[in-house]
Symmetry: C2
Subunit: 354 residues, 2 copies
Amino acid sequence: MTDPATGTARQRPGAGRPPVMADVARLAGVSHQTVSRVINGQSNLRPETRLRVEEAIRQLGYRPNSAARALVTRRSGTIGVIGSKSGFWGPSTVHRTIQAAGREAGFFVSSVNLPDLTRDAVSDAVEHLRDQRVEGIVLIAANDEALDVARAQEAVGVPVVVVEGSLYNARWTIGVDQAAGAGLATQHLLDLGHTEIVHLSGPLQWTEARGRLQGWQLAMHQAGLRPSQHLEGDWSAASGYRVGAELARRDDVTAVFAANDQMALGVLRALWEAGRSVPDDVSVVGFDDIPEAAYLIPPLTTVRQDFTAVGHRAIEILQTAIGGPEPDADVPERLIQPELIVRASTAAPRETEN
Amino acid sequence: MTDPATGTARQRPGAGRPPVMADVARLAGVSHQTVSRVINGQSNLRPETRLRVEEAIRQLGYRPNSAARALVTRRSGTIGVIGSKSGFWGPSTVHRTIQAAGREAGFFVSSVNLPDLTRDAVSDAVEHLRDQRVEGIVLIAANDEALDVARAQEAVGVPVVVVEGSLYNARWTIGVDQAAGAGLATQHLLDLGHTEIVHLSGPLQWTEARGRLQGWQLAMHQAGLRPSQHLEGDWSAASGYRVGAELARRDDVTAVFAANDQMALGVLRALWEAGRSVPDDVSVVGFDDIPEAAYLIPPLTTVRQDFTAVGHRAIEILQTAIGGPEPDADVPERLIQPELIVRASTAAPRETEN
DNA sequence: CTGTTAGCGCATTCAG
DNA sequence: CTGAATGCGCTAACAG
């Protein structure tokens, strides 16, 4: 009655298009405002009225239009996640976890996967996300270029949580303590009696790769040893294989610490092909603890990262970043501690050399 | 001038909030309508006017508000993707590809990852997505329950493209020809001279698992052999290992066809532990061709699926599903052909047994 | 406790 | 070729 179909031929409920708030109001015999109150869970409503409205809502199968709501509230209820298209295990696991956690927290989650995390690509992705008026962004697997973009965005007002990036260059961060993990791995090898421990790193544009490299170096130094030049892979089993083939020719090397499990897998294979036994001739340690790690030949000693925790914390942080008016106090560094998983790919070196 | 700030204290451009179309219009000295035309690339505009507007847009850093646009056009520009939280390689690869392809096609992509693809969970996810007024949904790794939901949605009007699900039960589908792939694998083993070929399947709620099972059965029958009872795993290396350990005790088995590479990996490990040589004693074939397959011990013969193609096709199909008013003609079954990759884990059986 | 009145920022008629 | 109205569906003040 109150809505006299002003000319655009408002259809009766039950016709083609989805019901709107006015339809519910009409059916319940209240104003559309009251419907709004019910939907937003306001307290000042006569229980009976609420019930009538709720019944009408159910009957019509009404669902609020989030675009309309976003328009007026200026809040989209959406967060964005930027990740890499490449399927490395860690980042993609984190990506999934974040998506799930974001939804659990009541957000819509808009994802964008980039072929490469170059400055321009990340920048575009952020624009894309801002066009949707996302309330916050989670940026995964950041390299330095991506971090620049993150910083720039902070200035513009969209909070960006950086996951697994350098934990010093962004305001809101969360990640695993890579250096500590590498330290665990290296120390394990050291404890076993190894002194010639080679590190096969990831690409050094990746902050994780650098963190693991540094952890290894530090542990070596603390043991009074001079770390040899590290070798650099690209995270793939193929690169691990290539490097492993080289290492197989060197007699001095008794242990390899690979920066991820895939590369370790490649090393295992190369060593096997060269007839060098793991762990009798060479010990191998990986990083990540992929589900297959326990079933490699031999079962791989590695460093486990709790990606689920990372994902959940990322969302928690994003929520405080969105909600709070910047405590401006010290941003606690959010670091999750990894764990060493000892399996059968490591053992004491065959002959001690001192 | 034309916008007399009716009381809500419209702020000057450059103040806190993002510029709106009216700001651009004012700066360019045109009506906001003209700005709209420029943005939507209409043709009937004096070049000079267009330029002035474009300049103003750039100067202000204006970006259209997608919520407002969605409200009036009733099109969100968003598609939804429903996947599983579990990180199986195939589905998660497809998920990433779809996200990327969706964005390339100009959509916003809203993702939801479910712990389990139960009917209720999928149903919720669809609701969630419909609340955003997504224009279409891609559902990945469907089992039968999920397919029911998909069908139900079709009725309500949101097109749902089912990826890797049963290709007969949904209107819009795309996937790899699982049975053909399994046939390739089985035939390869048959050609090598194997007759006792065991199949380690995935969980049979998964349509992929059923497809591969059927492909294996068919190939066996066509070779005049009676396939033995298949064994069922859960896609994990752990389950492959368990089954492999059993198989290692059986002398009659000379070949194993595992429904994915992870399970094959577990089988490899179990066989190795039991001192049975691959491929000399037992041949093993996987499915998926994960990046590590070539670096296992020994390198794994497997079936490669082109997941990138699947992702792109999924988006293409979704676009026609959204755009076209249902040709209602025969829905061509969209099947992508897999490819056999022969590596070192397969060979002729040691002794022929006929 | 509930209804009325205004817009949110944009696209879509329709006039000029 | 351009501008002036109108309303998308909803929430946010205000009135009652």
